[in-house]
Amino acid sequence: MSVLVSQVEAERQRVRAQFDAGATAKETLRQLCELADGTIHQMFGDMMKVHETPEEGLSLLALGGYGRQMLFPYSDLDILFLFENQKSEEEFRPLISEFARTMWDLGFRVSSAGRTIDECKRIEEDNAEFHLALLDRRFLAGDQALFDKLDKRILPPSEKQARPFLFSQLHRLTKERLARYGNTIFHLEPNVKEAPGGLRDYQAAFWLRQILGDRPDLRGSSAADEEIAADAVEFQSAIRCLLHYANLRNDNTLTYEMQEESANRSLAVRDGVKRDAAEWMRLYFRHARTLSRQLLRYLDQKITMPLSLRERFFSAARSVARPEAPPSGAHFAIRNGQFEILNQAALADRAIVYSLFTEAARAGTPLSRDAERIIAYVVSHSELHAINQAMTWDTLKEILAADYPGMALRPMQRLGILMEVLPEFRAIDSLVVRDFYHRYTVDEHSLRTIEHLQALADPPDARGAQVAALWRAQERRDLLVFALLLHDTGKGMPVENHVQGSLTSLASAASRLGLTSEEEAEVHFLIEHHLDMSATVQRRDIFDPSTVSGFAATVSTLERLQRLCLLTYADIHAVNPEALTPWKAEMLWQLFVATANHLSRSLDTDRLHASDEASLLAQVQAIAGGAARADIERFLEGFPRRYLAMHSAAEIAAHFGLYRKLGNAPLQTDLKAERHGFSLTLLTADRPRLFATIAGVLAAWGMNIIKADAFANAAGVVLDTFHFSDLHRTLELNPSEVERFQKSLADVLGGKAALEPLLQSRESASRARPPKVAVATRVNFDEGASAHSTLLEVVTQDRAGLLYDMGSALARLDCNIEVALIDTEGQKAIDVFYLTSQGRKLDSRKQDVLREVLQGTLG
């Protein structure tokens, strides 16, 4: 026996030495398999001789990977002992025990099962793995006729009958396995057997192919495809061999150390090019993607079984009742919850491909695997003469601003289109950056951040519940998502600080795509500060007011704070599944709330002294074309600092332009169409009831105010901005009404027309609809927020004319609005006013009366 042990061990060492010397994995696995086969033959034969037992009634079968002749150095030998009947099982049992022990002594890890031939006919519903492994059966030793009986007569009919069961079980097991690894191939230290893109994918695809029948439509579309798949299997197998030999056990994790080792050896590299570990890992991901795609194609299939007469009848009836014909001329349509291509020829026009991505992002519907294959074909064949290839910023913006941007960005990345549109992303393609916390490659991490945000439409757990409202109300998602795509691109650049690298990416992308300077500035802010909120949460005392005010100074506006909070939530979440603990999510939210409150409560105290803003003055002066500096200073003096944070120098110059015209007409307005409605900027001298009157005119015209702010400078010039939606599309569909609307506003504010008749005609024309969500009214006063004003915060049910009613109530009680910030969140109105009465704060009696009046007005 000891001689045999030495021989087997020597043979193992020889195989290993050949592998180390450059033998292929395929050859190594074959030799290991031959060694196991030969040893089994010899052992089994010797035992039969010693016990003088005939072989009839017992057969040895190799199953699973061993059955397929893919035996890795430290893998188990899956062996089935097949018996003719129970009697033979009892006879052979002692012999089998001895055989298994001996094999263990020879260093083989035997994983054995025993079944009679009758037992093999029955499907064990709780043991699908056994039946799947049986698909790879191979005769090893013993009674050949018994094996042939099982292989040719017994199993084929029962396996045919069990196809739906095997398919559903394999489908379930595979989906569970992929989910355990986050459904991505892009792990920093992947498991080359179990993780997506690993050898288990190949094995599962192999089984699915057997179960589904070797359908020609599911094979690789060309010999080249088959070769690519074979290369991928060889690559992954070589890694697994190396890992087994290095660890001396069945350990399949491709650690950083083993990545270095593989790169140093140029393991499984066929082109002879020497690569560093990061580049070699890119090869790994390319092969992993091949195996993963192959598996997913099989996994998408439905098993077809002959229908009964009744099923055929109902199926026909259904198809008559619900025809799924897409509209004629459509290039794609949704079928079975996925986008399918209807007109392949049309895809040469890239605008159509891009519109498919836009629809996927809007609808939250994925592209089918076939649709992706068709696009991949079109994209990779230059002779098809693509037109409209360049994606404009407007198109990209539409995708990024949709509810489900990840639904488009994922296939865009898989198809290489994302890198065409955004070459800056190439720097992080399949990039492994070693650190203790990240689990995924940098590109995968970046795409996951976006997917975590889109999941906030229906938050999967309590961690997202609070920030979900920020995502739903976010107006410039495109800028946030664009920042997330680029925020880590610097990690793929030879720079010391990756943030600087990412900002360089932004500069080149913004100039190529044509972002406006305001858009670029917003994205720049998010990238530049993408680590700040997380750092503040972890390294500062967030309950210390100075931490909050310092952080508020960095973000400067509520809009930026909201975007940075969402970005930070997504960035931490996408590090690894455990990174965003409920504890961290709570800390992040606490910092957000404290900073948001700080920003809205410090408005009145934080006023602008124009003479301190030399650079801004110079910019405005340059844009305004020769205006006197003293005039600009007079205009800016005393505005809340938030005014500067919210407007660019160009916008301030435009406001200054309106200010200069006040001498000609006492009311200056600027109406602009926006993405979801209009914005009205209005400059005039302050007067009683001004805010309420403007809100009243807007309500009378059927405009729904979504956001507003009202600021006044030291000279009493009021600058109000209203963002509103045109509920009845009056201004959009009737351009002539724009002029009438502006005249109506000027007439009412100028005292030439009364507001009440306008409001009455609107009230009679509109019927109030019951609210979808009931919001209780809350009226709060804060005495400490400002040295000279009282802060009033009202949260109530949003409705048409609400702001007019509130403004009127304030005016009736002689309250002057110093600053106003109006916001809505779904059906909730959230309004903040800084109030004075007779130039002083509101006393407690006045506050009580105001509270009572507002509660009465708002309900």
């Binding site: 500062r540 309950f543 603990t581 504890w583 404290a594 409150n597 209780a776 709060n780 915060e793 949260v795």
Partner: protein
């Protein structure tokens, strides 16, 4: 051997960890916890909703130390975790009977 449990401000954690490393402490168990002692919570109102923070976020450090290191470690934590404000946290020490390294069944201080 003594078991040391320290409840500290999250914002001081990085400094405490670095200082402990400098005095030769590499191993510790860190847990994100919530709680309060004399530092009570507070209420924030955001968009009409009240957020009551009655349990404040803290970091709990746990380590078992050979007797000769206890004073050094306690001093290090006191020096680096202290801000002088309510809510700086606490240190608890308790006697440990035995330590056993699971891998090789080593016992006593050498198992630490």
């Amino acid at each position: 051997m003594m078991k040391l449990e320290a409840i500290i401000q999250p914002s001081r954690f990085e400094s405490v960890k670095d200082a402990l490393r400098e005095v030769g402490i590499e191993g510790m168990t860190v847990t994100e916890v919530r709680g309060h002692g004399r530092q009570k919570g507070h209420t924030e109102v955001y968009r009409g909703r009240e957020y009551t923070v009655d349990l404040l976020p803290k970091i709990k450090l746990e380590m078992v130390l050979p007797d000769k290191l206890v004073n050094t470690v306690v001093d290090t934590i006191l020096k680096t975790a202290k801000t002088g404000k309510i809510g700086d946290g606490k240190i608890f020490l308790s006697r440990v009977e035995e330590a056993i390294r699971i891998r090789n069944e080593e016992r006593g201080e050498s198992a630490l």
